[in-house]
């Protein structure tokens, strides 16, 4: 009886299944299968004779590799600086833009967003040129105020900070647009009430704006962390992880392990460790920033 009615419901909904079929099929082949396959590969040694089961060996080798830990530390440091500083700058600029008239708002939104539409390859090439230690624009600009020259990407000490600097300097456009949209959603009556109570601008910002922007901040923190943990193109283009592994990130290290050293099993294990880290951090951020976001 019950089974019959389920079949009936499925038959009646056949159009719905037809509509989702292409997306679901694509998803099965190009998402579900690779995820399952990565788990399988992470327990295998891959060679010309075929795959041999090696248990947790790939995980053990990855975890005992100092370069893996170095890459992990670099990635964590990169995310811990780039995400909060990026969000801070975007929030600051948004509060400056928000009170302006509409035409000025649109101008600045466009100006800040434009650099973000250019591909990471192009951005990396431009910054390689700007970072150039003898002919680069940045050292020239520093020299006009009596500073530098800085070696930028040429030295272990400065290479990773240079990449962080570049990430923070270029971006921010989409975060600003999201913040402005969220600010537009805050009821003006809240500010009017605060002003009647004689609240300062700073108090308005701390007590009204900041708490009500929390969902946006959460979204930016989660997406920013996910993005920062997967930074690849700038590393590949600009430093290849060097000098002396000072800019090797986890994704770059996975790429090298898989496609330069051809250790597919170990690379799969590393990718899964990365996935677990990203999902854990996202969950913590949800828990930490996600409280009391309803209003």
């Amino acid at each position: 009886m019950k089974r019959n009615s389920l079949i009936n419901r499925i038959i009646r909904a056949r159009w719905a299944y037809l509509f989702i079929a292409p997306a679901v099929l694509h998803f099965l082949v190009f998402n579900v299968y690779p995820i399952v396959s990565t788990v399988y590969l992470s327990f295998m040694r891959f060679n010309l004779q075929g795959n041999t089961f090696v248990g947790l060996q790939n995980y053990q080798i990855a975890m005992s590799d100092p370069i893996f830990w170095k890459s992990m530390a670099n990635t964590a440091l990169y995310a811990m600086v780039v995400v909060p500083v990026g969000i801070g700058i975007a929030l600051f600029l948004s509060t400056l833009i928000f009170p302006l008239r509409a035409s000025a708002q649109n101008f600045y939104k466009g100006a800040f967003y434009l650099p973000g539409i250019v591909s990471a390859v192009v951005v990396s090439m431009i910054w390689l040129w700007m970072f150039d230690s003898t002919h680069g624009l940045l050292n020239y600009l520093l020299s006009t105020v009596g500073l530098g020259p800085v070696t930028w990407l040429g030295e272990s000490r400065t290479a990773l900070p240079s990449l962080m600097f570049m990430a923070v300097a270029g971006g921010g456009g989409s975060a600003i647009i999201l913040y402005l949209a969220a600010m537009g959603g805050i009821p003006p009556t809240l500010y009017e009430a605060a002003r009647l109570d004689g609240a300062s601008r700073w108090a308005e910002f701390r007590r009204i704006t900041l708490p009500l922007l929390k969902p946006t901040t959460l979204y930016l923190a989660v997406m920013g962390t996910i993005g920062s943990f997967q930074v690849f193109t700038s590393i590949y283009m600009m430093t290849r992880g060097g000098p002396n592994y000072s800019t090797s990130t986890i994704v770059f290290s996975i790429y090298q392990t898989a496609f330069e050293f051809l250790k597919l099993g170990r690379a799969s294990a590393m990718a899964l460790i990365l996935a677990v880290i990203i999902i854990t951090i996202s969950a913590i951020q949800f828990k930490w920033l996600g409280q009391e976001v309803e209003y």
Partner: protein, 284 residues
């Protein structure tokens, strides 16, 4: 809607606070746009002018020599065509398949709907790196290495697109769909003649972001293209950079050639770009 617009709230006089805001914002805008400006400026300088210190902000003696060298040395137009083919294919297929799935998830009831939708969505959290090795093996097993099939197939549908379309189509009134059905429209007719025309704002956003994603994609085309003439523009530029490390005039010409189409698209669809972000992010 909902703009701050309190700039002149104190009796029409612009406050010092506002002037300070304009100064800071303008300085930041100059700084943010400086790399793009410098890219274009360098691309029109011959070698000695490019490395001159102090630099010429605007080339004193503009030249097309870098572009001539670019097209002589590398099949840049072929790369451009490859990028365009991949980006157009991804865009069209995303528009079709994501809107179809979004329609079913938003407006239809069927067993398994919630489970399927959330499984689809949860993969958005999985880093792309997890998929990369098996995808690479799969595509090479399918014989799709170094051809358009391999470049295009994995990106035909995206969970984000399905989510975006579901969110948008969910806001369309059911009465319109019912009216079309009463008028004798088929299921496909409802989709093509009611849903699609009404979804134009969301389709514009999805189209723009799909195109941009495909045009700028790097790691996947890097892995699966081997011959010079199958490279996309992004991968082609990367190889050009490895061959001519410090020839920045040439590299900036290539960069400009790759960036200009996106910049044109940005100015043509600026409104959709800026709106699109908020449709995707906040209506969750």
């Amino acid at each position: 809607m909902g703009r701050g617009d309190t700039e002149t709230r104190r009796g029409g006089r612009i406050s010092p606070f506002t002037i300070l805001a304009y100064v800071i914002l303008t300085l930041w805008a100059v700084w943010a746009l400086l790399p793009l400006f410098w890219m274009i400026s360098t691309s029109f300088k011959e070698v000695r002018a490019a490395i001159k210190i102090p630099p010429e902000w605007i080339p004193a003696d503009p030249t097309l020599i870098n572009y001539e060298r670019l097209f002589a040395r590398a099949p840049a137009f072929r790369w451009f065509a490859n990028s365009a083919i991949v980006a157009v294919a991804h865009t069209l297929s995303m528009l079709l398949f994501c809107s179809m799935a979004g329609y079913a998830f938003a407006k239809k009831e069927f067993p398994g709907k919630t489970a399927i939708f959330w499984t689809l969505l949860s993969t958005m959290m999985i880093p792309g790196m997890v998929l990369l090795v098996p995808l690479f093996l799969l595509v090479s097993k399918m014989g799709l290495m170094n051809n358009y099939g391999g470049l295009i197939l994995p990106g035909l549908v995206g969970a984000f697109g399905v989510f975006l379309m579901k969110q948008f189509i969910g806001t369309l009134p059911n009465e319109l769909l019912d009216a079309a059905r009463i008028d004798g429209a088929s299921e496909f007719g409802v989709y093509s003649r009611v849903i699609l025309p009404l979804s134009k704002p969301a389709l514009a956003v999805l189209g723009i972001f799909s195109f941009m994603g495909a045009w700028n994609d790097f790691l996947w085309p890097l892995l699966i293209t081997q011959s010079k003439d199958m490279r996309t523009l992004a991968v082609g530029l990367a190889t050009l950079q490895q061959e001519s490390m410090t020839d920045f005039g040439l590299l900036m010409a290539g960069s400009t050639f790759a960036a200009v189409p996106m910049i044109i698209i940005f100015f043509a669809f600026q409104k959709h770009f800026l709106k699109g972000l908020t449709i995707g992010a906040l209506k969750g």
